[in-house]
């Protein structure tokens, strides 16, 4: 799932961010260069892809691993 989420991050950024860079990043997605509008696109993509509701108040949704963990929790 981590790889797929990284692909969606890249897609949401319009290709500005490479999947490899996203997977290797040790910083938050905004720090990596993901803009607000791309982040919002990403949330929409994640909800469609994984059939879940992403709660923006859920915390730790600013990193790739935080998102993966959140989605995994939603799908249990």
């Amino acid at each position: 799932m981590r790889e797929r989420v990284a692909e969606l991050v890249s897609k949401a950024s319009g290709g500005d961010l490479a999947v490899a860079d996203i997977l290797a990043a040790e910083c938050s997605l905004p720090a990596l260069g993901l803009t607000s509008i791309a982040y919002l696109r990403l949330i929409d993509l994640l909800e469609v892809e994984f059939d879940c509701d992403v709660d923006l108040d859920g915390g730790h949704l600013d990193t790739l691993d935080g998102l993966v963990e959140h989605i995994a929790g939603q799908r249990k």
Binding site: A31, I37, L40, D44, L56
Partner: protein
């Protein structure tokens, strides 16, 4: 439709104007999109002909394009974007017949009407020198007159030449036609159109958007829920303190150019995993809350709505206001607020596309329940492209001396004063990518005009300070050099709201036409009354002697709400107790025999009938 003739501007030699004929792929009529309704409502709030929402703009002409090529490009631009050939008129009226009267018109009775074909008069000027400067002046001149939305194209333009060669296109545009995102779209297309490129047609036009928003499965359900929860948790006004004698003109706007604030905001954003947009939003909320004495701040954010599929390709207004409620609790730091506030701002941006009529209904319902108009006239708008800066000075934010040196470049300035603006405070960035260009507008009927300037320097100080140390939210006013507004004796906090109790009691008496009434702060241990926050256990109880027509809590609440319209100092009682006779003394109301009592909010509320 027709266009106004180009303006005459000194310093430019006017040549014979040209006429551009255009013929688009289609014409048509539809209800306003939700984004159009937002701008339409704002324009209706102003006087007819007010140019406040006009956009003055310039597009450079690069290469060796001749005048005919530039005029062809103008025509193609109008043909490909239906929004540039759209009029706004009352349903059932022809072009030129709708004068747009009616200050309460939210756009429900207005239609967008796209002309398939028409003519646009384009001025042509020769500049002796500095064509760009001359074009900017010309654009401002073109934008100085309000558009006739029903009869006029929403675009005026003129070509500025130098030695016969077109150098700049000067434009005035109606904000009803384009928003900031659309301007960037047009700017990207313009050189390609001038070069004669055949661009693919836009994937969506406002007519399509209107159909989508009125489809059987309209968007916006989640956004409506976001609004409802936000309305319930927001203060009923950030401006619940005594008004003052306004300055003339009443609304004052100041600006700041601070590279240091941008560098500090970038550092804070990176440290806390948030965006610089969130940093500026939370800082604005913290300053406003510190000045107005609140621990919860409510701002309306201007949401571009361009992350939704399809809407990114549409030229036309798509932005709507989104409600952002940020907790700034006691004991928390600015860093805590950044992390919490970032999530709130992202949730707001995600929930900015909604049917304004449904949100308006939810807003009214919350006001009725709360007991006061819900005043959300505090705004924040980040107009930076992609919501970020580029090319900031390479200063290490951890180097205090370097940051201090950078602060020497900070410049603040007065922007303007206005007689009418639909805002009590408006925070906004400017578009400049290499510095924090920031603006604050205040309503001087509530805050002195100089507070706008002091908030700007306070914003810079707060951001710079937060880079090097923890700033408790309780110290924001002191750090920013701002004075909290004073509230005289008699004002008290009820939930998120500050209330002038003597004025509230006077309101109850006036609304009911009797001196036999009192308002008492009581314990709301049954759960009724104010929501979470300071004074959560308190509620206002209104006692009065029943009279014909004012013999139920519902009737009294209706009368109080009518009398309280537009006020930010009073709050309708949460509970009404109607008695047969007054007590012997003012303190005796709670012990008076009761005829009937209840919240008065709805016939089905927990109303108790006693002795009838």
């Amino acid at each position: 439709m027709t266009a106004s003739p180009p303006a005459q501007v000194t310093g430019l030699t006017a040549l014979p104007p040209r006429t551009v004929e255009f013929r688009g792929a289609r014409g048509g009529q539809a209800a306003l999109t939700w984004g159009q309704q937002g701008i339409w409502r704002s324009t209706r709030w102003l006087d007819d002909g007010d140019p406040y929402f006009n956009l003055a703009w310039t597009l450079p002409v690069t290469g060796a394009a001749g005048l005919d090529a530039v005029l062809r490009a103008v025509g193609r631009l109008v043909e490909r974007h239906e929004t540039l050939r759209t009029a706004f008129a009352r349903a059932g009226e022809g072009a030129g017949e709708g004068d747009g009267e009616g200050g309460e018109d939210g756009g429900e009775d207005t239609v967008q009407r796209v002309s398939r074909e028409g003519r646009l008069t384009v001025g042509v000027y020769e500049a002796a020198a500095r064509p760009m400067s001359a074009a900017k002046e010309l654009a401002a001149e073109l934008a100085a007159t309000g558009f006739d939305y029903a009869a006029e194209l929403p675009i005026r333009c003129a070509v500025v030449c130098q030695r016969g060669r077109p150098r700049v296109l000067a434009l005035a545009l109606s904000h009803l036609a384009l928003d900031g995102w659309s301007l960037n779209m047009v700017a990207a297309e313009w050189p390609r159109l001038v070069a004669g490129e055949d661009l693919p047609e836009p994937g969506r036009q406002p007519l399509d958007q209107a159909a989508f928003e009125r489809s059987d499965s309209p968007p916006g359900g989640q956004a409506l829920w976001h609004w409802r929860t936000g309305l319930a948790s927001a203060p009923r006004s950030m401006f619940d303190f005594p008004m003052r004698e306004p300055e003339e003109p009443r609304f004052v706007r100041h600006g700041m150019d601070s590279p240091a604030a941008a560098v500090a905001a970038e550092a804070l954003a990176a440290r806390h995993g948030v965006t610089t947009s969130s940093v500026l939003t939370v800082a604005s909320a913290a300053l406003l809350a510190a000045v107005t004495g609140h621990r919860t701040a409510a701002l309306q954010l201007i949401v571009s709505n361009r992350h939704h599929p399809g809407m990114e390709a549409m030229a036309g207004p798509a932005a709507q206001d989104g409600l952002c409620v940020i907790e700034l609790g006691a004991g928390a730091t600015f860093a805590d607020a950044l992390r919490h506030g970032h999530r709130r701002t992202m949730a707001t941006y995600r929930n900015g596309h909604y049917d304004p009529a449904l949100v308006h209904a939810a807003w009214e319902a919350e006001a009725w329940d709360r007991g006061a108009d819900i005043d959300l006239d505090a705004f924040f708008n980040d107009v930076r492209q992609a919501g970020r800066w580029q090319g900031l000075p390479p200063v290490d934010p951890g180097d205090a001396a370097a940051l201090a040196t950078l602060r020497a470049r900070t410049r603040t300035f007065f922007v303007g004063a206005y007689s009418k603006v639909k805002a009590r405070i408006f925070f906004a960035t400017g578009p400049t990518p290499s510095t924090c260009e920031f603006y604050v507008l205040v309503d001087t009927a509530f805050l002195p005009g100089d507070v706008a300037g002091r908030m700007l320097t306070g914003l810079e100080e707060l951001l710079v300070r937060a880079v090097s140390e923890e700033v408790p939210l309780d110290r924001v006013a002191k750090v920013a050099g701002l004075d909290p507004v004073p509230r005289p004796t008699g004002w008290t906090a009820i939930g998120h709201d500050w209330v002038d109790l003597p004025a509230t009691e006077e309101l109850l008496r006036r609304a009911c036409g009797t001196d036999l009434a009192a308002v008492v702060v009581e314990d709301a241990s049954d759960g009724a009354g104010a929501g979470a926050g300071d004074g959560a256990a308190a509620r206002l109880t209104g006692y009065l002697v029943a009279s014909p027509g004012l013999d139920t809590p519902e009737a009294v609440h209706s009368a109080v709400m009518r009398a309280a319209a537009g006020r930010t100092d009073v709050l309708a009682p949460h509970h009404y107790v109607l008695c047969a006779a007054p007590p012997a003394g003012p303190a005796g109301w709670p012990a008076c025999p009761r005829l009937i009592e209840g919240g008065g909010r709805a016939p089905s509320s927990a109303m108790t009938v006693l002795g009838r």
